[in-house]
């Protein structure tokens, strides 16, 4: 295999890890309370703008931008849960779709209003330079984003499966009435799930902003990536989202390299449709 091909695959894996990170938030919220958050991609977009402000206007680096975007978005997640989700959960599915879609538009056009519709990009040298590992050249910004995203996604999986908090969250997901009989307050666990889910988008946004274009409509593109990742991985499964995210990253960059950048999304979705034909519950979902 040529060095270039390996480089393309590694690049795809690194981007895929970021996809996995923000998609795991979407899958968590679905798994916990059967809510589909159509604003999820726009949460990532807001994270990107928070990072943009930190990187350019405030002069901070990713060490400041990433934690700040995580915290701000986690707070936004809690506000959105108590201000919107808790009420629309009681309504029909249509209320969820319209409610979260409305939220997406609100976020998107608020950012339009503040920053305008121009493509913004961050200074190239924000995360300096390029690594050369045995002939494979990787931008430091992508390496940082990929590795951090991978570790945080794995951490989220461990949180859910190995800790008391995770066990309580999964208990609410499985049977919130029975969870109440244990003394667990479902509201608290669901708010925590929203904080984690939105915090993950904030972190992913801050990481991806170091090498991705920044524009108010980017949430639409990333939102679709998140939905595909979550359906491919299986709704509600964090490990599923991780595998699916990496897979989509690799397929995307391979088809971009082999067929052409214009067609890469088409290839991803065509393969995705074909896959769902055979396994509608996703890689790790329950049928």
């Amino acid at each position: 295999m040529s060095f270039v091909l390996v480089q393309v695959i590694v690049g795809g894996l690194l981007l895929g890890a970021v996809y996995a990170l923000f998609s795991s938030g979407l899958t968590l919220v679905w798994g916990m309370m059967n809510v589909v958050n159509f604003a999820h991609g726009d949460f990532v977009m807001v994270g990107m703008y928070v990072a943009y402000v930190v990187y350019t206007l405030l002069g901070g680096g990713p060490l400041v931008g990433a934690p700040l975007a995580t915290l701000l978005l986690a707070t936004l997640g809690i506000v959105v849960y108590f201000g919107l989700i808790r009420d629309i959960m009681k309504g029909p599915m249509l209320a969820q779709i319209l409610g979260t879609f409305g939220l997406a538009l609100l976020l998107r056009y608020s950012v339009f209003w503040w920053f305008g519709a121009n493509f913004l990009s961050l200074p190239e040298n924000l995360v300096g330079g390029t690594f050369d590992i045995g002939g494979i050249r990787i931008q430091a910004s992508r390496l940082l984003a990929g590795v951090v995203a991978l570790l945080v996604t794995l951490g989220l999986h461990l949180l859910l499966t190995r800790t008391t908090l995770g066990s309580r969250m999964l208990a609410v997901a499985e049977d919130s009435t029975a969870a109440q009989l244990m003394g667990i307050r479902p509201d608290t666990m669901q708010a925590i799930a929203w904080a984690i889910a939105a915090g993950a988008t904030g972190l992913a946004g801050a990481l991806i902003a170091t090498f991705f274009y920044v524009v108010p409509t980017v949430g639409e593109t990333l939102g679709i990536v998140a939905f595909v990742t979550v359906s491919l991985g299986g709704f509600g499964s964090v490990p599923g989202a991780l595998v699916a995210g990496l897979l989509i990253g690799v397929i995307e960059s391979l088809s971009g390299y082999l067929i052409g950048a214009v067609y890469k999304d088409m290839v991803v979705y065509a393969l995705f449709l074909g896959f769902l034909w055979f396994r509608p519950q996703g890689l790790m979902g329950k049928s």
């Binding site: 066990s167 999964l170 208990a171 499985e174 969870a179 109440q180 009989l181 244990m182 003394g183 667990i184």
Partner: protein, 265 residues
């Protein structure tokens, strides 16, 4: 054999009860749980219309009646899963009607619900630890876990297994064990014999007898009246959402009405 066993247990606990009530008279203690004229509605439907019952400290009280009599509704209302439309539910002297379920279990009132409602995706041990959510002292949780494992050695064997892979009898053990993990003052059991093999039911009831002797207060909803009266000190009979008969288990077992309606005498 079990008849003698239960009457012996019954008398013992009633005496102990009386002495507890006397010693506890200082803090104005009446029965641990006292329900008066409870009414529960599901929208326009009436779940129970008028239920009154008392559970003295340290006793086992059976809530009897046929299917649809309102046993589950009554227990769910006490646990806070469904709101009381009217009436009062006093637990340890405090009105709890209108409180949320997660707040009520923290006061020491645990329910092992109808159909067990286990977290089938999680391990046996995680299910038990979830039951200890109201507690914060790690050492105490560990002691309780060991105690539950001593009562149900099967659960210790299966502690890493997913709850969903267990048999009916094991699930019943887990449901009871999970409720015990909150170290309740009052344990409510909803139809613990339902769908279980007779041998399993017998050992389950032996366990209830043991818990009773150790001083636990139990409110037991049971369709199988004969079985329930064997382990109980007192009983209340529900009929179409009303408590129609209350008394000591011994008196109810002798009651011609109960005998005719339920015991097939």
């Amino acid at each position: 054999m079990s008849k003698a066993f239960s009457s012996e247990v019954g008398t013992g606990s009633r005496e102990e009860n009386a002495s507890r009530r006397e010693s506890g008279a200082g803090n104005g203690s009446g029965p641990l749980l006292k329900i008066e004229h409870l009414e529960v509605r599901y929208g326009d439907l009436i779940g129970v219309s008028d239920v009154s019952l008392e559970v003295p400290q340290g006793s086992v009280v059976a809530l009897l009646g046929s299917n649809g009599g309102g046993k589950t509704t009554t227990l769910n209302a006490i646990a806070g899963l469904i709101p009381a439309h009217s009436g009062s539910i006093r637990f340890a002297g405090e009105e709890v009607a209108g409180e949320s379920a997660f707040a009520i279990v923290r006061k020491g009132l645990a329910l092992s619900p109808e159909g067990w409602r286990l977290f089938v995706q999680q391990s046996v041990e995680n299910n038990l630890l979830l039951g200890a959510t109201p507690l914060h002292d790690k050492a105490r949780i560990k002691t309780l876990l060991e105690r539950v494992y001593d009562i149900f050695p099967k659960l210790r064997e299966r502690r890493t297994q997913r709850a969903g892979t267990m048999s009916g009898g094991e699930r019943q053990m887990l449901a009871v064990g999970r409720a015990l993990m909150s170290d309740p003052k009052l344990l409510m059991l909803d139809e613990p014999s339902l769908g279980l093999a007779p041998a399993v039911v017998e050992s389950m009831y032996e366990t209830f007898g043991r818990l009773h002797r150790e001083g636990l207060t139990i409110l037991l909803a049971e369709q199988s009246i004969e079985l329930a009266l064997e382990v109980s000190d007192f009983a209340t009979v529900l009929q179409v959402g009303k408590s129609v008969l209350s008394g000591t288990a011994a008196a109810l077992a002798e009651d011609p009405q109960v005998q005719k309606a339920y015991l097939g005498a």
